[in-house]
Symmetry: C7
Subunit: 109 residues, 7 copies
């Protein structure tokens, strides 16, 4: 990620604290090759999209009130369902809030 973009993301992450098991995601532009070098043809981009985790909440709360940490971290590249997520525009960029349970998979190099 270019350093200017990185700075912008970090500043967003500092200011937006998702609640519970929500995570804030910046969707990647639909390019042919993902971070891990996976060639994701156009059609897939229509069905499943990928993006980067920008900020994470403390996790869902169990019956005793303890938070169960989310299993993704800031910077992770992830696969997202096409639909779902709450759109938030910050500093003129789209971000999306997802529940952790809706994140499909992590993409690793």
């Amino acid at each position: 990620m270019a350093s200017a973009a990185k700075v912008a993301v970090e500043s967003i992450a500092k200011r937006i604290k998702p609640l519970f098991d929500r995570v804030l995601v910046e969707k990647a532009e639909p390019i042919a090759r993902s971070k891990g070098g996976l060639y994701i043809p156009e059609k897939a981009q229509g069905r499943v999209v990928h993006g980067t985790i920008v900020a994470t909440g403390p996790g869902a709360r169990n019956e005793q009130g303890a938070n169960i940490p989310v299993s993704v971290s800031v910077g992770d590249s992830v696969l997202l369902p096409e639909y779902g997520g709450t759109k938030i525009e910050l500093d003129a960029k789209d971000y999306f809030l997802y529940r952790e349970n809706d994140i499909l998979a992590k993409l690793q190099d």
Copy 2:
């Protein structure tokens, strides 16, 4: 928040005690820049709104009857879903009761 407004909010907070995991929110006027300096363009204001926590309930109750404290506090600046919330007009101002779980994120300076 201007001191007159602050006084009004504090007086509301003293008189309204939300029950369970409800929180009372004063929605911010749709301005371009949020408290944390985040530029929230018009369109976002249509989809996600932000506001300030005015009063909080004791928290949801678990099976043993204990309250699980809410994870937002009076004065927090928060992101809210566009829909939902019960409108209450007090002293000719709109306030909204939300369940804690519907609050999307905290906005921090």
Copy 3:
């Protein structure tokens, strides 16, 4: 509350024992200023109403059969959703049975 009305309410409270987490509420007449001095303009009265707790049940029951005491008490001034509640006319007055969880907030002086 005028003493005659108080006596009437107390007599109702002695004779009606709501079950589980139900509470019996006497809705306040839609006046501009609530007990706590909050000016509740007409429009709010259409959306959210306030009233006084007349009698309370022992509370919801958990898996072990123990009652979890309700968090409102007789005499509390409360905010109620516009809809919901079971209407009961006793001694030619309207009372309403609500589940504790539907009571929005307590109004305190």
Copy 4:
């Protein structure tokens, strides 16, 4: 309750053992004054009815298989929702089986 009617009710109670948290209720004729002397005007009778508990089940069962005793007893005068309940005609009289949780309140002298 007149002694003949009492005998009839007792005989029913001996022969009908509701299961789980069901209770058998004999609905009162819509009279203006309930047992506790509460004047229940006609209109209320259309919305909420009252009756007497004739027989009770052992209570709902929890995860361990133990019954949680019901919180009403034979002879209690109770308030019932207008709808619901399974009608059973025994000895040419109408009785109604309700789940304990649907009973609104107890009416006490």
Copy 5:
């Protein structure tokens, strides 16, 4: 129950082992007087029916895998809702499988 019929029922009971909390019921012919001498007029027979338990399952299973014994036994006379139950014809007779929770009450002499 006539001895021939008894033998038939016992033979069925030996061969059919309902699973979980199911119970096998033989519906009684709609006669005016039930086993307990209760006069069940025609109309009731249309709404609630009664029958005899022919076989019982081991009971529902809880989280630990233990069965919670059913609260009715073979030979019990019971009240059944008009609808529900899975019809099984065995030896040219109708039997019905009910979940224990759907059995309304036991009829006792």
Copy 6:
């Protein structure tokens, strides 16, 4: 069961391992007399069918991750609801996967 058929079933059982609380069933041809000698007239065969358990899964998983063994075994003759079950054709024969909880009863000699 004829030995050739038995061999075929055993071979299927070795190769198909149902997951969780699923069981694999071979439906019996609709004959008048079941294994236990029960005469199951045509009509019943249309509503409830019977068959033989060919393979069983390890059982449903509880909160701790332990499997709760299913209560039917390979070779058991069982009663099945008319509808439900996932059809699988193996070696040109129909088999059906059911959840254990949908199996109505065991048929015993």
Copy 7:
């Protein structure tokens, strides 16, 4: 599986980490004989399909936050319901994400 295909699958498995109880599956081409030698006629292929597990998530999370390992492993041949699963195209091949609970059975040699 031909070694080139195997290498491709392994590379996918390294880069895609399904979350929770999701598993990534490569559906087998609809051939007449499955890995275990089971003849799966055309019709079955229309209703139930089989495939190979390519990657598995850490498992569903219980109330304490612990993952409950999934009961299938990479390389397992499995039976899948015809519908369901989220399609993902990677390196121009179709893969499908299923929840563990939707996998019908394992096919063993």
